[in-house]
Subunit: 303 residues, 2 copies
């Protein structure tokens, strides 16, 4: 169980808020004043990149780095690269040929504003830009940055996030999918990039090998808890808070944790995973107050 | 003017053929036996990656490296990364929301076989895979590989190929575009990745700085000549050789070099650019027989 004073909890909240603020300042100015004839690609990319969101992945990278090194501002480009990857995946996921969503974070989706062609290219541009950012960071920060880039790009790829999206698309045409397929889908689609954010931060912070292994397990469980909570909110959440239509998966006969286990079992599962996450963080060689608070907040969130 | 014996020309052809063969062996086995539930993404990616094509970009990288170092087999992964980027751009370009093409290299386009959702993801997966390949190569080959990766990823991005594609999409809604816009579009859409292939090869081969600068100019002119030749073939070429429908740009009222200058002027322009390319290659510190032959062949090609 977590023993934490009110003051500590408040400090943790401030830290997370600061991470979020810093990453958003970086992202909002990233494409500013860029482009000539191609200006529209920066406008479309910026639109989705700065539409809001929890910024979980970049915050996790920064907090994980912060366990071992001071001044997490130094790794903001790497944190931003992850958010670019996450954002591109949302733009492509929302396309009519994929999830066909009109609303994302309470605003029209990218293709609803810029058309499908530009939205496809904006997604491509964000994935490509994440590559440029990671390569430039690696040129300045050597091998540990390159290793972190490897973790991130593999997590985003066909064996990671994209692999999960493929199974997601395939599952829509099936009446039911196996428990193994469902777990695979979520571990890959949501979990891999969350896990990679944590490990990349630790590698950039030159964490001891044992800690990286613990954080790897922590990342898997956190990613799964995060996805189950998302599925729960999709059933019981409020549209105005979520900024997207709820029960969408159900309407589309999509398999998720709720349709597989029922809501009560999911709530227990989510709680158990969160406890296991805290347990793992307690085994690190350093104190992980901020990461613990973030873990609790992800479970308690309403959107 | 090029002075070359028949024997030299034959040797050059063999070299180019060998490069092509080696890159195709690498690409055809790259995704083999990969995947579990996500197997379809590898099937779809492989389909377009191994559908044929001239392999100009990887061959250029290998020949450019070959100017300075022996055993161009060593840089095959980097050459493959470029072909993955080129292939992803074709898959996305062919989508109904973009060029809406049913035929590519004489075969059904990716989305015609796998559907739009999987085709979008196959494109994403190939771009992402190129990133993984370049990062792994850089981990094994140090800074020069990372610098070459930077050149390639910037050429593929919003300031490069994607930027050109955006202007291409925008030009479709206009009645006419300016000469500057047309040049920008082609320099970026086709030219940047061709230029990057050449420069990346030279950097990997540790070419002297002066040579890299000459090859930069060579790359710009070659990319432009290549695109003008493509536009010419689009009007006068044979469907069975091109493997795609011709005069498509004209039907769609698209601006290209032919609609801008007329076919005769384009043929002169193409010839002039090729001569200038050879002139530049003559200024290198090393002999560039193979690159010269390839340059001539690109001008003389019928598809």
């Amino acid at each position: 169980m977590l023993m934490m004073t009110k003051k500590r909890s408040l400090m943790a909240k401030m830290k997370v808020d600061n991470c979020k603020k810093e990453i958003e300042v970086y992202l909002s100015s990233y494409f500013k004043d860029k482009g000539v004839y191609n200006k529209l690609i920066y406008e479309a990319s910026s639109y989705s990149l700065n539409i809001g969101g929890k910024r979980i992945r970049p915050i996790l990278l920064m907090l994980s780095y912060d366990l071992y090194k001071e001044d997490y501002s130094k790794v903001i480009p790497m944190a931003a690269a992850i958010e670019m990857i996450h954002t591109y995946s949302l733009i492509h996921d929302d396309l009519p040929a994929m999830d066909n969503d009109d609303l994302r974070r309470g605003k029209p989706t990218n293709h609803k504003v810029y058309g499908e062609g530009i939205a496809t290219l904006a997604g491509d541009a964000l994935l490509n830009e994440s590559m440029i950012v990671m390569i430039n960071f690696s040129l300045n920060h050597g091998e540990k940055a390159l290793k972190a880039s490897k973790i991130i790009s593999e997590a985003a790829g066909a064996e990671g996030m994209i692999g999960g999206q493929v199974v997601d698309i395939l599952s829509e045409t099936k009446k039911s999918i196996s428990e193994d397929e469902l777990k695979y889908m979520h571990l890959k689609k949501t979990g891999e990039l969350i896990k990679a954010s944590i490990i990349a931060g630790a590698i950039l912070g030159e964490a001891p090998k044992e800690d990286v292994e613990i954080l790897n397990l922590f990342g898997i469980k956190l990613g799964l808890a995060f996805q189950i909570k998302d599925d729960i909110l999709d059933v019981v959440g409020k549209v105005e808070k979520l900024g997207k239509n709820t029960k969408k998966d159900e309407h589309m006969n999509k398999c998720n944790f709720i349709t597989m286990y029922g809501i009560e079992k999911c709530e227990v599962l989510c709680k158990t995973l969160t406890d296991e996450c805290i347990e793992l963080l307690n085994r690190l060689s350093v104190s992980a107050t901020y990461l613990k608070t973030l873990t609790f907040n992800l479970l308690e969130r309403e959107y």
